[in-house]
């Protein structure tokens, strides 16, 4: 490829205080190719894209598009240069229509009217060209996750993007939707566009890309042709050492711990539960797979004590769950790891010791006379928990908001696991963590399993579920499939069930990889 690259990073460096987020990054992207940018969470992928889009300015280096320097610090000039981005967290306004979301910013702000007819025409042409079917007049809030991603791609294409960047695009998709996305990407590159595909999933990258650039601690540690790359080699490059995520060892399940019978919530939305049955035993990790927003959150809320408006029964160690009462539930032996640690897990503006007592603040251990907090014993206990769970901080009186993501999760683990719960609800426990922290969290869960806890693991990452669960169920539109031993269903079968095609494990579905 001797032609001028469509996009080139030259020695881009970005520092935040003492941290170097991007260290002398040089990359080239050519017309018609898919370049995969591989790196674990925190490797600097997002920072690099933020520099490209002008949200940050690089301290050193420059970015060239078609050989011309891109002015730094301007989103507008990146868009005008033909760069389009599909964000991992969609940047769409739910209450506005698809058309409005797509046309925003495409006309001069000061023109006195919008040319809707022309916009519709152009959009319709693109929809049929690329097979990105979506109704232009639908409200975004009515769309499925897959459809929203199509809108995001259309948004970029509508602005005549020649370079498309996709940030972790498959994180929210079913395997079949992901296959379909890959097919779309292929047709896009055939029309001469270039794509940067950001991911940390090795098998995807191997499937979809022409070349692979590996980013580690802000620096490019290798650029490889996909055709000659090996999975193990990439993994080692990405993390810098051989990491093996922990795996299950065989243990016989023990007594029944959690029994959910006929659990339903009122309403008709996809997040409302419909007659959910589930059992968990000692020494067992049961996984729940599913696309976000299919009822996993509702089930987790009920088991955490945040909701009590349901029908059906939940029994824990033979006792009815104290519905709607988180403290009673914790006291009865439940450890809870919430989905979003910043929003729900901690009060970032309070001290570490205060966060560590939040779930049992009225217990005799930290409370005197029923309402006075015993700061001395609470701090002493916090000190022990910090040490045991290796939370890196200045001590119990440090502010929680200063903790890194991994340490914040360790703090939550310390709170949830300290009193040896018999049932652990782990909702996306490793999302957004780096490999070291992921391994730590998973080891802690396996440790708890070994000691006899029953663990419910909710995740959108099928690889994680495959590696870590004894049994697995799939949730779709509020319905939970039976939990079969992990390995009894193939990834393709699970993907179909995630898309709502029912629990048809035994019948022949005749599904090709290109979907439905």
């Amino acid at each position: 490829m001797s032609k001028t690259p469509v996009l080139e990073f030259r020695g881009v460096t970005k520092r935040f205080g003492t941290l170097t987020a991007n260290d002398n990054v040089s990359l080239t992207l050519h017309q018609g190719e898919v370049l995969a940018l591989l790196g674990e969470n925190g490797a600097g992928k997002t920072t690099l894209m933020n520099i490209l889009f002008g949200h940050y300015q690089a301290d050193e280096g420059e970015i060239l598009v078609d050989g011309e320097t891109l002015p730094p610090g301007s989103t507008q000039s990146a868009i005008n240069a033909g760069i389009g981005m599909v964000h991992q967290h969609f940047t769409l306004a739910d209450n506005l229509s698809v058309l409005e979301n797509i046309t925003l910013g495409t006309e001069s702000l000061w023109s006195l009217r919008q040319d809707q007819a022309k916009a519709r025409e152009k959009l319709a042409a693109m929809i049929s060209d690329y097979g990105l079917v979506v109704d232009p007049d639908a409200q975004v809030s009515e769309l499925s996750v897959g459809e929203r991603q199509r809108v995001e791609i259309l948004k970029a294409l509508y602005r005549d993007a020649r370079i498309l960047i996709l940030d972790e695009p498959t994180a929210v998709l079913t395997p079949q939707e992901a296959e379909r996305l890959f097919a779309t990407l292929k047709s896009i590159t055939e029309k001469g566009l270039a794509i940067i595909f950001i991911s940390h999933k090795l098998h995807e990258i191997l499937a979809v890309s022409n070349r692979i650039a590996v980013l580690r601690r802000g620096a490019i540690v290798g650029t490889l042709e996909t055709a000659v790359s090996k999975r193990e080699q990439l993994a080692e490059l990405m993390v810098g050492r051989m990491v093996t995520r922990p795996r299950l060892s065989a243990i016989e399940p023990g007594e029944l711990v959690l029994e959910v019978r006929d659990l339903s919530t009122s309403g008709t939305g996809a997040t409302e539960l419909k007659q959910v049955d589930l059992t968990l035993h000692q020494h067992e990790i049961v996984g729940i797979a599913g696309v976000a927003g299919n009822g996993q959150g509702t089930l987790a809320d009920i088991l955490s004590g945040l909701r009590k408006d349901f029908s059906g029964t939940v029994q824990l160690n033979g006792q009815m769950l104290k519905a709607g009462n988180p403290r009673a539930i914790v006291a009865s032996g439940v450890g809870r790891i919430p989905e979003d640690r910043h929003a729900r897990g901690v009060v970032a503006d309070m001290d570490i010791w205060e966060n560590l007592i939040s779930e049992d603040i009225r217990s005799d251990e930290v409370c005197r006379a029923g309402f006075i907090i015993d700061g001395t014993s609470a701090r002493a206990r916090a000190e022990k928990q910090i040490e045991k769970f290796d939370v890196r901080c200045k001590g119990p009186d440090a502010e929680t908001k200063l903790l890194s993501g991994g340490n914040m999760q360790k703090l939550i683990l310390a709170r949830a696991l300290s009193n040896t719960p018999s049932f652990i609800l782990a909702n996306q426990p490793v999302r957004g963590l780096d490999e070291g922290a992921i391994a730590y969290v998973q080891e802690q869960l396996l440790e708890a399993r070994k000691r006899g806890a029953a663990i419910l693991l909710v995740s959108e990452d099928l690889d994680e579920l495959m590696a870590l669960t004894d049994r697995m169920a799939v949730m779709s539109h509020g319905t939970l499939s039976s939990a079969l031993p992990t390995g009894d269903r193939t990834i393709a079968e699970i993907g179909l069930m995630m898309a709502g095609h029912g629990d048809q494990g035994q019948s022949n579905m005749g599904i090709s990889a290109n979907g439905h």
Partner: protein, 315 residues
């Protein structure tokens, strides 16, 4: 009861309603523009006060009426800019900033008024906007007097409703404003500066509020009194919720309140003997609370209302 119907049938009642509604329309539209962009502007009460004072003072010092309105709008926009710097750029609490702006703007208005007119015991007067009778239309019964013999500022208020609607829902800049109130990250991702959009919206909205205040001193009355805004700004905030952030419904809500006020002025005269006047005066405030209760379950707030946007975060 028949007395009540008699009131409704008089042209004077409708004329009064349309007159009284003007400041509510300006204030409600102003607040609506700010909130559509995602910024709650509780400076409204103070900005209306400062608009009332500055417009009036401009004319009192020898300026003409229309430049006075323009001056009031500019002063309002400056306070809007102050609000925007605090809430949009520095991401400070929109609630507390708004209250601070209200206290600052209204006390500054009184201070300036007293500075310029230290000895005025009875408030001095200006020559306010005169009613303009629209040829032909003003001859219609009831409606003619009510709708077509108003001051130019009232016509402006009524015209502002479709104009604001058109700008918000039919132009690119309106789309950018609405999107800033729904998902600022999406706006930024499309290469539009959210901070600029929000700042502009708050300034324009505040200018509307100030003109609403100016109407009271320059068209409805002819002098500036202390405490003359008297909670109208807060009523506008309630009206925005009542209107579900729609300009057309805002007009309806404002009319309802103005009608109430017009009735209460008349009812005080007829029923004052057995119902205390304070009851009628309290009605608009109580109705505002009721209006919010009624609409609370139905309305869909702009999703990014009160949510600050910091560039580079989560993009």
């Amino acid at each position: 009861m028949s007395e009540f119907i008699d009131i409704l049938l008089t042209a004077g009642f409708w004329a009064a309603t349309i007159r009284i509604v003007s400041p509510l329309i300006f204030g409600t539209l102003g607040e609506l523009i700010c909130e559509r962009a995602g910024v709650l502007n509780l400076g409204i009460e103070g900005i209306m006060t400062v608009g009332a004072m500055s417009g009036w003072m401009w004319v009192y010092q020898g300026g003409d009426l229309w430049t006075g309105v323009l001056f009031a709008a500019c002063v309002g926009a400056i306070f809007g800019l102050l609000h925007a710097v605090f809430t949009v750029h520095l991401c400070l609490s929109q609630h507390v900033t708004g209250i601070g702006i209200t206290l600052f703007a209204s006390s500054l208005s009184y201070f300036v008024y007293r500075m310029l007119l230290p000895d005025a015991t009875t408030p001095p007067k200006i020559v306010p906007f005169k009613p303009i009778a629209v040829p032909w239309l003003s001859d219609l019964p009831i409606i003619g007097e009510a709708l077509f013999t108003q001051s130019a500022l009232t016509y402006l208020a009524l015209a502002a409703v479709p104009m604001v609607w058109y700008v918000l829902f039919r132009t690119p800049v309106g789309l950018a404003v609405r999107m800033s109130g729904e998902n600022p990250v999406a706006v930024e991702a499309q290469g539009i500066n959210v901070l600029a959009v929000r700042t502009g919206a708050v300034m324009v909205g505040s200018a509307f509020m100030a003109v609403g205040g100016a109407f009271i001193t320059m068209s409805w009355f002819d002098a500036f009194y202390f405490g003359m805004i008297n909670g109208r700004g807060w009523i506008c905030v309630a009206l925005v919720i009542f209107a579900s952030w729609q300009p057309g419904k805002a007009l309806l809500g404002a009319l309802l309140f103005a009608g109430l006020e017009a009735i209460q002025v008349r009812a005080q005269q007829s029923a004052g003997a057995f119902i205390p006047y304070q009851f009628f005066l309290a009605l608009p405030y109580v109705m505002s609370i009721l209006a919010m209760i009624v609409m609370a379950r139905k309305t869909r707030y702009p999703q990014a209302l009160l949510v600050p946007f910091r560039r580079g975060e989560r993009v």
